[in-house]
């Protein structure tokens, strides 16, 4: 249990940093100086200290959603191996992980409708539309991983791939690519959604959190940052678990820790690069992108059988 809690703590602790790094890199790529990489910590610190304003139209759903969102993220984090292939695998596998995120999304989308603002409705409607296209991709990628590793348990996939390099096949990369696109869609990143805008017509995720303030907003923000890092951790350790500790010796743990930080850092840099080079897609172009990712996932499964 110790490692699981440590891993969750690590994920939550570094998630504002990763967001800060992405923002800083984007600023640099755009020839701006940008705020420091620790800025998200300061923002959260400030938000936790502020009073909240709650709409008179809203109900208990609006109040409890930030807590449930965060709790769902933490529960999901318990299932994910970070620096060691140990996690609470018995409680749930990769499918449960996806469904815990679906739980968070369900609450957030309902809460967005609660205040009665058209922005919330718009965000909620678009989020549910896009996620329903991203979910088949994620589950097919899981299917491909289940074929390759013979299990859908996150820790076991890492263990299998890390200990037997012979398992690496073309379908692994196809599944990785598919899951990566789904990650961008699920985390409201470019080219699906612009995380740094508050322009009504383009936003999805931000529109849903628009009514939140103070502690509620802080929790929503922190949860979203955690969600991104969780996805990056899954991408790192499920699809390329090299370097992860397979036993609890200090040396292996140290290597595992460095490996995961490097991998998450690299992926974050890739996201920053994508966000600086691609523009946001029109909403009704997004399905095309997600169809591409679905096809990749399907190819991943088929190529496993054929190749």
């Amino acid at each position: 249990m110790l490692f699981e809690i440590l891993q969750v703590a690590l994920i939550v602790a570094i998630s504002p940093l990763i967001t800060g790094v992405i923002r800083k890199l984007k600023a640099l790529l755009q020839s701006r100086r940008g705020p420091g990489i620790f800025q998200p910590y300061y923002d959260l610190y400030k938000l936790f200290r502020k009073d909240s304003v709650v709409s008179r139209n809203s109900s208990w759903i609006f109040i409890v959603t930030p807590y449930i969102y965060m709790a769902a993220m933490l529960t999901a984090a318990l299932l994910v191996p970070v620096f060691i292939t140990q996690s609470l695998g018995f409680a749930g596998d990769l499918i449960v992980f996806i469904y815990l995120l679906a739980m968070a999304r369900f609450f957030m989308a309902v809460a967005a409708l609660d205040a009665g603002s058209a922005f919330g409705g718009m965000g909620s409607s678009r989020e549910m539309a896009i996620s329903s296209l991203a979910e088949p991709t994620m589950l097919l990628s899981i299917f491909a991983m289940a074929l390759i590793a013979g299990t859908t348990s996150l820790g076991d996939i890492s263990q299998q791939l890390a200990s037997s390099p012979g398992l690496v096949r073309p379908s692994l990369f196809l599944a990785f690519a598919a899951f990566f696109i789904a990650t961008l869609a699920e985390n409201a990143r470019l080219p699906v959604d612009n995380p740094s805008t508050h322009l009504e017509l383009t936003m999805i995720h931000e529109a849903m959190a628009l009514e939140y303030s103070g502690k509620g907003l802080a929790l929503m923000e922190l949860s979203s940052m955690t969600k991104l890092v969780l996805f990056l951790a899954v991408l790192s350790n499920v699809f390329m678990p090299w370097g992860i500790a397979t036993d609890a010796t200090p040396m292996a743990l140290a290597i595992g820790m460095i490996a995961i930080l490097l991998k998450i850092g690299t992926l974050a840099a890739v996201i920053a690069l994508i966000e600086s080079t691609f523009s946001k897609m029109r909403l009704f172009r997004v399905p095309n992108l997600l169809t591409v990712s679905f096809t990749l996932a399907l190819l991943a499964v088929i190529s496993y059988y054929i190749l």
């Binding site: 909240s52 139209n57 679906a102 369900f106 205040a115 009665g116 589950l139 299917f143 009514e211």
Partner: protein
Amino acid sequence: MDFSSLFVAFIILSFLGALAGAALNGRPGASRIVSFGCAGLAGLLGIGCAIGALLGGTFELSLFTGRFGTFSFSVDGLSAFFVLMISLLSLVVAIYSAGYVKEYEGKYSLGLMGFLYNMFVLSMVLVVTAHNAVLFLILWEAMSLLSYALVVYENRNKDAVKSGFIYVLMTHMGTAFIAVSFLLIAHFTGSFDFGSFVGAGASMPSVLKSAVFLMLLIGFGTKAGLIPMHIWLPYAHPAAPSNVSALMSGVMVKTAIYMLIRCSFEYLGVTDTWWGLLVLLVASISAVLGVMYALMETDIKRLLAYSTVENVGIILMAVGAAMVFKSYGLLDLAALALIAALFHALNHALFKGLLFMGAGSVLYATHTKNMERLGGLIKKMPYTAAFFFIGALSVAAIPPLNGFVSEWLIFQSLLLSSNFPEMAVKILIPLTVGMLALTGALAAACFVRAFGITFLAMPRSENAESAKEVPPTMLVGMGLAAILCVLGGVLATFIVPFIDRATAPVIGVSIASKLVYGLVLSPVVHSFSSVSPLALAGLLIVILPVVYIASNLYGGRRKTVVGDTWDCGTPLNSRMEYTGTAFSKPLSMIFSSIYRPRKQQKETLTSSPYIKRDITYNDEIEPVYEKYLYSPVARITMEVARRASAIQTGSIQAYLAYIFITLVLLLIIFR
């Protein structure tokens, strides 16, 4: 203990409830208490009898032996499971009905309602226990006619009568297919007893066997609401009184699934792989299209009816997977898929029953089921809203509720398809995984919309504004169903072994010991994956207060100010809220090739083209099945009838001449 006495007591009590309800017609209050009281008690007896039978107390009850063999009822594992499902839902719905039917007091006969309700539940229980083909068909017909009577219960409502007509037409078409296939099977076994049907497939020529299977699939598919035979379902289920909708959607469609399982696995024997693949394919299309149409509905009860089409699709996907596994002789995996199917059937009965009861409460309180006229009900009807929310979470497969656990099991059985020996089949399965995932995600979108638009934000009409919470009996019925939805998920590890007892005789192997490890479910191949709904619930329950306390400690307690929603400076009113139609617009545009939406926009201009006097906007989706499948059939039928009417002159002499000529011809031919 002899559980057959409980079964007999169940039958007697149901009759008693029906007759007492009818007899007390003059006193509506007494009638509803007595008839639904009896229905509730009968439900308890049914539960007891079913649990007893599942634990090994199976029994058979013979009525008499006649021309068509022995008319008897048999409660074995599979029957008992369905009896349990029907009784459980009937119990909670009976409690709910005791309050709900007050709505009809003074408008329609409550005695009739009590009578029909009891008889309808009884007919369903007898259908899943009948042990003779002829008896089954009689009861099947009785069930159809009783439910028809309930659909047209509001007989002054033209829509209900029209819906009833479509229903009675479709269901009889289905029954015809079933009757023909039973006759064909009986031809080979020489008896109408279901006992002799077991293994009948072995002695049938394979072409005929496949033909019988296809007819059964059409026949039972019609009752279950499989696309494209589903068209009656979105009319009939919403037209019935809500308590009956709960039963029709919750359990009546399952009787068809019951018999389909029995016929394909026990009587015909699944030997051809393509049977299973066909079921899998049709079911996955049904699931995806069902939820897509649900997303476009603004009538809550029709939305729920389409969601039933979706869930029947999901259940039959698992049944199809079980058939494929069985045809390859992978019995453990077949059992896993069938357990998943039955578990989802049970869960669907509970959450769909709950949701229909919730929709009924909304209808009771606001007299409208159009969600565009609702909103803000969470403040007027807090309990109903909370229960409906739990139902919505279940149907959207949110962990750790029951819908999630059964859907997880279905995913696992599909993922384990890598064990299939044939490449073509292996490649087909990932598509169905994708479709199941799409179905799940769309269902979540659908119920975010259903709950959010109906219960949240500001009321959109006077009706919603003046809504009041429903009477306690209705709340108790919904509350029980909601608790069962939560327990069904969290305690899944205790329920699955029971289901295994129902599937073990069908498949031939018991896999409880390979599926349940203490509080963990792990499908057959132990290292493959596992889930522990109880652990997940425990984690969430522990983590939630931790998050709450931590975020309140960090930065100190802060004030919460009540204010306006951000309105960009224009005071917000209910017409500015997002509507259900707007919510599903992105999806209707993304899937426009399926919906084929038609837009009509009419503008009346003033003298200036830039200033419009008024705009009418009409947006509808094309009713594909009615237009391309059923209308042509109806047209041809009408045309043939019109042509045939040429010989119907209306004069008695002509008809006498026809009779005479026919008689002479028959005498010549058959002399």
